[in-house]
């Protein structure tokens, strides 16, 4: 088992995929560890589903290699790979009932009937579908189909489970619930999960690590917090969460610090290590500020590292939070500021003047 510690469960090396003259993937390289919940996140058409289908064995790569559990997968068909997929449509076999669907793969392995039954019952209990064995696909709700599709993959005890937008067909409430359940299940069984999604919130909630893809390239690969706090460029910054963009220039630099001029906020000094190695000072034209990193100083006693005066343009009340649109000095487009609605605090009315507090810590620096 010692070698497992160093060897990734999945090694994707320089994988290229071309469809005719169109290049869907430009040299993807990624290592995924055993037991990791890894997400491929990106807008539709970014190549994330193509990459997943190549892991499953439905599409051969045009170039590069994919190895799973140390074995090169080139030339190995989908039915001989240690992966199982949860399809976007769930692909529940319509002429078979739930038990037959879940037992389908075990039957191909020539497992004795009694043993199949035992395995199927166990996995159906695991996904909370114990009493639905005799139902047909059309008698199940979306969430139940999703569970059956997952059970059908789990029962095979694969090395890797591939999930192609598995929650996109569910309504918001059920989706939120399934995200938590799926994550908990994955942790308890320890199988490597690879999730394809276009929903950044879903990726943040569920994943150990996320690869953000645009136009056939991995733009950034990091833990959810790393992606959120240190996006490498504007595109990633705006794709993950809400980000306010403000024009800025680097005015001065020393060995350890950079002095940033942000016309709408003011001047601040940030430590140099906040810039990734790939960014040079001259590249800085814009900085980002998350809505929760700006504060409205309602009370006269509230203080902050820096503060500026601004005008409230509008507000959206969410119960626990209020999102304010606030116009900063010299900036036409209002920035979004989120404030927790703690006891005794009223919502600032549009048109009123407020003090906006911020600090060097609020500022995110990245490439354009």
């Amino acid at each position: 088992m010692a070698e497992n510690a160093t060897r990734p469960m999945i090694a994707i090396t320089d994988v290229v995929k071309k469809f005719g003259t169109f290049t869907a993937l430009h040299g993807i390289t990624a290592d995924i560890a055993e037991g990791e919940f890894f997400s491929l996140l990106g807008p539709s058409g970014c190549g994330k589903t193509t990459l997943l289908r190549m892991l499953a064995g439905f599409e051969p790569p045009t170039g590069g290699t994919i190895s799973i559990d140390g074995k090169d997968m080139s030339g190995i068909a989908a039915n001989a790979r240690p992966t199982n997929m949860v399809f976007q449509s769930y692909a529940i076999f319509p002429h078979l009932n739930v038990e037959e669907n879940v037992g389908y793969g075990l039957k191909t392995r020539r497992m004795p009937k009694a043993q199949i039954k035992a395995e199927v019952d166990k996995v159906l209990a695991l996904v909370d579908m114990a009493n639905y064995g005799k139902r047909k696909a059309h008698e199940l709700s979306g969430g139940q189909r999703q569970r059956v599709a997952l059970a059908r993959a789990l029962v095979m005890r694969p090395k890797v489970i591939l999930l192609d937008e598995p929650l996109s067909a569910l309504d918001k409430k059920l989706r939120d619930q399934m995200q938590v359940e799926l994550r908990a299940l994955q942790r308890s069984i320890g199988i490597t999960f690879i999730l394809v999604t276009h929903d950044q919130e879903e990726a943040l909630i569920m994943s150990d690590r996320i690869a953000v893809m645009f136009e056939g390239r991995i733009e950034q690969m990091d833990k959810p917090e790393g992606l959120y706090r240190h996006p490498v460029n504007k595109r990633v910054a705006s794709f993950i969460g809400v980000m306010n963009f403000l024009p800025a220039v680097a005015r001065d630099e020393t060995q350890d610090t950079i002095t940033l001029d942000i016309p709408s906020l003011g001047t601040t000094i940030i430590p140099r290590d906040r810039l990734g190695s790939s960014i040079s000072v001259r590249d800085i034209t814009t900085v980002g500020v998350r809505p929760e990193m700006l504060t409205l100083l309602f009370d006269a006693n509230d203080t902050s590292e820096h503060e500026v005066e601004a005008e409230v343009v509008d507000s959206q009340y969410y119960g626990d939070m209020t999102y304010y649109g606030v116009r900063l000095r010299g900036q036409d487009a209002p920035v979004t500021i989120s404030m927790r609605n703690t006891a005794g605090r009223s919502v600032a009315a549009p048109g009123s003047t407020v003090r906006v507090g911020w600090g060097a810590e609020s500022i995110v620096v990245f490439r354009d």
């Binding site: 439905f58 989908a78 039915n79 976007q88 692909a91 191909t108």
Partner: protein
């Protein structure tokens, strides 16, 4: 939007139904009539014409020929239709629209044109006319029907179902046997029944391409020259009519069952 009153629509519908089905109803009516002359008033009830059919040797030969032709046609055109439907439903290839259009063309081409063209071609090739040449002609006109029926069956078959089966470790052949076939089987049976029915009562092509072995419709046509045989023809027609209706009902029921299994629209518009 009320251009037509409900009353007029009813009148129109009833007239239309009479126009469609009155001649068909006449068939059994005269088949059970005692008079050899096909005319009103009816003279009495008899089953003698049906009994007569039982003892007509040439009829049995023609019926057997027709059965051979219809079964061969049904099998061949359904097989060809299955290939074409699968290709057109699953793959994109250059000139697909044009090719599928050409295959479907015999559906709208006048049968007499097809028959004459085939006859000329067979003569040029020096091939003797036989039941096989009839089968060839029938396959030509039946395949489009088969494609239409099977295309709808294949379209309802989600590609991800076959992928899921492969993903679960099943082989290509196993996937075909356990997933594809059960899901399109009702469509295949429906195609077999419909092409069988079309071939069974097809006259023009059979008339041109048959050699010395006649099929049933050609036999019936030859009997029409003898006025005394007319009630027997009526009786035979009645049997064929009942059989055709039965087969078409079974075929449609199967097609709908297939559609319902896959959870898709069950009206004919899906064809």
């Amino acid at each position: 939007m009320r251009y037509l009153s409900a009353r007029w629509l009813t009148v129109y519908a009833v007239t239309y139904m009479i126009f469609l089905y009155a001649p068909v109803i006449l068939l059994p009516l005269f088949a059970f009539n005692t008079s050899t002359i096909v005319a009103f008033p009816l003279t009495g009830f008899t089953t003698e014409w049906f009994v007569g059919l039982w003892h007509t040797e040439t009829l049995h030969v023609a019926l057997w020929n027709s059965a051979k032709v219809a079964v061969s046609t049904a099998l061949l055109s359904t097989l060809l239709g299955a290939f074409a439907a699968r290709a057109s439903a699953r793959f994109a290839f250059p000139g697909k629209t044009g090719i599928v259009g050409l295959i479907m063309l015999p559906l709208v081409l006048p049968e007499i044109i097809i028959a004459v063209a085939l006859l000329i071609m067979l003569n040029q090739l020096g091939l003797p006319l036989s039941l096989w040449t009839v089968v060839a002609g029938h396959v030509l006109i039946c395949t489009p029907f088969s494609i239409a029926i099977l295309s709808s069956a294949y379209r309802g078959l989600d590609r991800e179902l076959e992928e899921a089966s492969l993903d679960l470790g099943e082989s290509r052949w196993g996937t075909f046997r356990r997933i594809t076939l059960p899901l399109v089987l009702p469509g295949i049976i429906s195609s077999l029944l419909i092409t069988f029915t079309i071939s069974l009562d097809e006259f023009i092509i059979a008339f041109f391409l048959t050699g010395t072995d006649v099929t049933l419709p050609v036999y019936i046509w030859s009997q029409l020259r003898f006025p005394a045989k007319l009630p027997s023809v009526m009786a035979l027609g009645t049997i064929l009519l009942a059989l055709s209706i039965l087969l078409l009902i079974v075929a449609e029921a199967l097609r709908r069952r297939s559609a319902a299994r896959q959870g898709i629209d069950t009206t004919l518009a899906g064809v």
